[in-house]
């Protein structure tokens, strides 16, 4: 994946946590959306049943994935579209470049799509002399700032309006007195710039929230209407979707279109839902291409526990409730997929070889807030714990202090005599460290704790010793 920052979560988070502006922006934004989500979810008496239905639909789709994808291909072709299969990012980027070049286009307009960020499409197109223009306001902000998205749904969540105003002043050569930091004024600047692009650029690129195997219908949900412009005005439309986005039947949308907006933007219904099936004379694009992207997904599907990560419908509810995301922000995860879902999806897609990938399953306190809100009931804490096992496996064979410590502790816990000896040893061993029944400084691995927190000292008598003395004979 192109936007992979090889810095480990811990190191990246440390830097992010030192940025008070970022902490304020994130805290404000996530708190607001969390409260809004609770309200709209509470309106539905059958919310839990909807979640069950969503989970069942995705599980069924994953079990029948090969069959559904072939059915989707046939349905799209029948409706006049073309289907391309891409094993990895390179193949997908080449397919898109080829299509754009065939139309002699120098510019393409884009609907917000994380899948295209995953494959680094914009940079690849640039290499072919093609400029990709992001038309989602937040994506445009990120693009103009030469930055990376930090949230699945709100890519510029790490920026506030004062920062955006500064960016627009520079990017569009506006005099300070001509632009306030009112959201309306800022949006107007983007609108004027984009409207011209919608009317002149011949090729549009989108992702896909869903694709229906039964009918060949592809769907995108969005809030700004820029998507609708991209989907209807240009001559050529190219949609890139991960293979896990396929759903069996059109009626599955009844469930998904209730779950998604309430979980993502905390709206009853998203402002724009676009569904299109192939091409139509005199309406919309004359040419439609659907690129089906694997890029590691088949490998994820093969893992019985980890495959749940493919059920994700990219609502980002897990990011908004995550206490870790709220503090450290999206960039700390070093991937286009941040937050809890990123922590389980990224390492599975890219493999566990790097320090960065190995750090991600540990970027969670396992509080379970993500699982509680997930509209398709992905048990993220369970997968995190499971993937930690894969990290340890990857590291086995290399000496590491933590592994030695934990294996020794397991050896101690396996025998009660060794355990009781260890309790006594801890009591003696702490003597130089404990003052006033607390320990304020520890060396090595445990320094991370005592740098900011005291630790209680080990009391003279363990519970079991008290039990033996007082209750043992009764």
């Amino acid at each position: 994946m192109p936007f992979i920052n090889p810095t480990t979560y811990q190191k990246a988070a440390k830097i992010a946590l030192e940025n008070p502006q970022l902490r304020r922006n994130l805290g404000k934004a996530t708190t607001a959306i969390r409260e809004k989500r609770l309200k709209v979810v509470a309106e539905l008496p059958d919310w839990q049943a909807l979640r069950d239905a969503g989970a069942a639909i995705k599980e069924n789709a994953m079990q029948r994935l090969p069959e559904l994808l072939l059915q989707l291909e046939q349905s799209v072709q029948k409706a006049g579209g073309k289907v391309h299969w891409a094993t990895d990012a390179l193949e997908a980027n080449n397919i898109v470049s080829r299509i754009v070049k065939a139309h002699q286009a120098k510019e393409v307009i884009k609907i917000k799509s994380i899948t295209t960020d995953e494959i680094g499409l914009n940079d690849a197109l640039k290499g072919s002399g093609i400029t990709a223009i992001e038309t989602d306001l937040a994506e445009l902000i990120v693009q103009l700032a030469h930055d990376h998205p930090s949230h699945i749904l709100v890519p510029a969540i790490h920026k506030n309006r004062a920062e955006i105003r500064e960016l627009f002043l520079k990017s569009f050569n506006i005099k300070p007195e001509d632009l306030s930091d009112e959201p309306r004024a800022l949006a107007e600047v983007a609108r004027r710039y984009l409207r011209q692009k919608f009317l002149t650029v011949p090729v549009a690129i989108s992702g896909a929230n869903f694709a229906i195997a039964e009918t060949g219908t592809v769907g995108v949900v969005e809030s700004e209407g820029n998507g609708r412009m991209c989907l209807t005005l240009p001559k050529v439309l190219i949609s890139i979707m991960g293979i896990e986005k396929v759903l069996p039947e059109l009626r599955d949308l009844e469930v998904m279109l209730q779950l998604l907006p309430r979980s993502s933007t905390a709206e009853r219904m998203n402002p724009y839902t676009s569904l299109w099936t192939g091409v139509h004379m005199g309406d919309g694009p004359k040419e439609f291409h659907l690129v089906l992207l694997d890029n590691g997904r088949t490998k994820v599907l093969a893992d019985e526990v980890g495959r749940q990560a493919l059920h994700c419908i990219r609502c980002s509810a897990c990011l908004n409730v995550c206490p870790v995301y709220e503090r450290a922000g999206g960039h700390a995860y070093g991937s286009v997929y941040p937050g809890p879902i990123g922590a389980i999806l990224t390492p599975q897609l890219i493999g566990f070889e790097t320090d960065h990938a190995q750090s991600l399953p540990f970027a969670s306190s396992l509080c379970g807030a993500c699982y509680e809100v997930c509209p398709v009931k992905i048990n993220i804490p369970e997968i995190l714990v499971y993937l930690r096992g894969q990290v340890v496996e990857q590291k086995s064979g290399f000496f590491n202090l933590e592994g030695t410590a934990l294996k020794s502790m397991a050896w101690v816990f396996m025998d009660v005599k060794r355990y009781e000896l260890a309790q006594k040893a801890a009591r003696v061993g702490q003597l130089p460290l404990a003052k006033n029944n607390k320990i304020s400084s520890l060396p090595g691995l445990l320094a991370g704790w005592t740098n900011s927190r005291d630790l209680p000292s080990v009391p003279k008598q363990a519970f079991r010793d008290w039990w033996r003395e007082n209750k043992g004979k009764s």
Partner: protein, 247 residues
């Protein structure tokens, strides 16, 4: 009622007072308690650190120690260790494809309960006759809140403690930042979460923060103590065991 006490390695070693309070409380409520001295650790720390082979052996050992206990329930003053038994024992067996052990794990997990859910749900008691004249706020640890869905049980018990003024905690459902190995592997993020939790606790003007998990309380107290806030943490069992003029 016969119960078997699962004390947890953390309480056994660092918080014996919680264990002693649990015994006194449950005896007062009419339980007959056994404590299998063979018990050590449930394996949660190893599971959360990714050492699954070691976890499986600790799970097996735990099951061997407790399944032969002549007790209707296994009760523990720790939500997270009970969550390990209830939620993860079967998963660990499943991942290791040990179906025989999985069946035993399932059976055992069905009768393993956290202290407050045992008192309210099984003993059907809401007032345990406690007296604790302090201003107290309650931290609902994530495992108790979400995995075990303890709901109102701990609040109900606290509300019925005479002399106790229960202070509502803002953002009560958010994590304190402990997360076991997380607190050491990601100390900066953990501390940022703790700072916000401490701010909410201090805002309540309570002088005591209680909870059902000494692991979270160790994190919270670690910060409160370092900052010399004058607010302390006390396990729920230690509050419920206090009676007027006694204990």
């Amino acid at each position: 009622m016969k119960i078997s006490l699962f004390i947890t390695c953390l309480n056994d070693t660092l918080y014996p007072k919680t264990g002693i309070a649990t015994v006194a409380l449950l005896e007062r409520l009419g339980c007959q308690i056994s404590f299998p001295l063979e018990q050590t650790c449930c394996g949660q720390m190893h599971l959360n650190s990714g050492y699954q082979a070691e976890t499986l052996e600790l799970v097996r050992r735990f099951i061997e120690v407790f399944e032969t206990e002549d007790a209707e329930y296994i009760v523990s003053p720790s939500g997270s260790c009970v969550a390990m038994v209830r939620e993860y024992f079967t998963k660990v067996c499943e991942w290791a494809k040990d179906t025989a052990l999985e069946t035993r794990a399932k059976k055992l997990s069905e009768r393993t309960l956290e202290l407050s859910e045992f008192i309210v749900g099984i003993l059907k008691l809401e007032d345990v006759g406690a007296y604790y004249p302090h201003r107290v706020t309650y931290h609902s640890s994530c495992h108790g809140l979400r995995t075990l869905a303890l709901g109102n049980a701990p609040y109900t018990l606290l509300k019925n403690v005479r002399g106790l003024e229960l202070m509502p905690l803002e953002n009560a459902e958010s994590c304190c930042g402990f997360g076991g190995t997380f607190a050491i592997k990601n100390p900066e993020t953990s501390t940022a979460m703790l700072s916000d939790k401490m701010r909410c606790i201090l805002n309540t003007k309570a002088n005591t923060c209680t909870g059902g998990d000494n692991s979270c309380l160790m994190q919270i107290n670690g910060g409160l103590s370092r900052m010399n806030t004058g607010v302390r943490t006390v396990h729920l069992a230690e509050i419920l065991t206090q009676t007027e003029g006694g204990a």
